[in-house]
Symmetry: C2
Subunit: 225 residues, 2 copies
């Protein structure tokens, strides 16, 4: 049973909402306590009192961005029953997230990831942890789809390609602001997934080169199993 939030907690949540937006645009390091305070209509010390240090503010901002992403993208997708449809929903919702955030800094985690890849510390660790969790989620989804007999091949390779597509799209989209890229990304995802489908009639009919079979991991796994 969720406790009724105190006044301080609500203020903190308000600050973080603005912080997520500012950090997405100016970066987690570029986000200064002074400008955050001004944007939220408080004194600098007032904002500071809620976090104690800039690093704590950064950590709280990353967490807030994650909770928001979880609510908008992950949880709704997890409600879908069939494993592969869940993966499709996840991707659809990620692309919708990118579209919504076109004017508010783009994908928070892609930006944070690149900003902190050379700044060791708790913030980097937190970002690394969240992106690792994302990798695990996608890997698990595809693994389950494979166990359900829906897809075949090297699921880790497929996971890598799906993540690259999402991340690469996020980067290109943000600089060009060209929404057509989202359609290309969707097409690329559907196309790539189709190539791993077991059910598609054309797929089973297709002969395969030994090289492609090896890349897919089909032969290797059969040898191991």
């Amino acid at each position: 049973m969720p406790r009724r939030p105190t006044h301080a907690e609500r203020t903190r949540a308000d600050i973080l909402e603005v912080a997520v937006r500012l950090a997405a645009q100016e970066g987690l390091e570029g986000l200064s306590v002074g400008r955050l305070a001004e944007a939220v209509g408080m004194s600098k010390a007032g904002v500071f009192a809620h976090f104690g240090s800039k690093e704590s503010l950064q950590l709280a901002t990353v967490e807030a961005a994650f909770l928001q992403f979880r609510e908008e993208v992950v949880l709704p997708a997890l409600a879908v029953q069939a494993p592969l449809d869940r993966m499709r929903e996840l991707m659809d919702r990620y692309f919708a997230y990118l579209a919504r955030r076109l004017d508010t800094g783009g994908c928070f985690f892609t930006a944070a990831s690149l900003e902190f890849d050379d700044r060791p510390g708790p913030v980097q660790e937190k970002i690394r942890q969240l992106l690792q969790a994302r990798n695990m989620l996608i890997w698990t989804e595809l693994q389950q789809a494979q166990e359900a007999g829906t897809i075949r091949g090297d699921v880790e390779q497929l996971a890598f390609e799906v993540i690259s597509l999402g991340t690469g799209t996020a980067v290109q989209l943000q600089l060009t602001r060209d929404r057509a890229l989202l359609e290309r990304a969707r097409a690329a995802f559907v196309d790539r997934l189709e190539r791993s489908l077991v059910s598609a009639a054309t797929e089973t009919a297709r002969p395969e080169t030994p090289a492609a079979q090896r890349r897919r991991g089909g032969r290797a796994r059969a040898a191991r199993g």
Copy 2:
């Protein structure tokens, strides 16, 4: 005939070499004149005298990073004769560039692109221009490969996917420092290219779904032509 560089020109080049490294790690905005001066062993005003403003320094740093990239990646690849082999060489050299820069900030342009996507101005324009030139280069390469009869399908879609793969790999690689991602990226590229090949015996033998044909642009182009 290249003029012998003046002392000032050589100093400027030395400063920019350090600037490219610092900017790749701390960002173009995080790069401060003071720390740059310290890193290069000069006074702050001494460094400043070469550029006049931070913005000019940033522009010069982007240009220096571009010239370096051009030398290491683009020009050697352009020496290759066959259009599609040129594209393969370009990709190979980009992945090698990523591997070399694992400990010096990763892909300069991916980082710069994400850092400046919300900072309008001359620096953003410069970055946008360079990445647009990259898009055009890849598009042209694939277009030529298609005209040579080597590949078929929607070259713009293929170009988008190739760029996404490269950019997405750059982002993931830099946070995880997992070199195995480079192998996955290479495999993904080869695999994707193979699907667009005209020559592969297995390709021509494969039946194709109408949906896939539409996505490829095969039908549409035939209708137009």
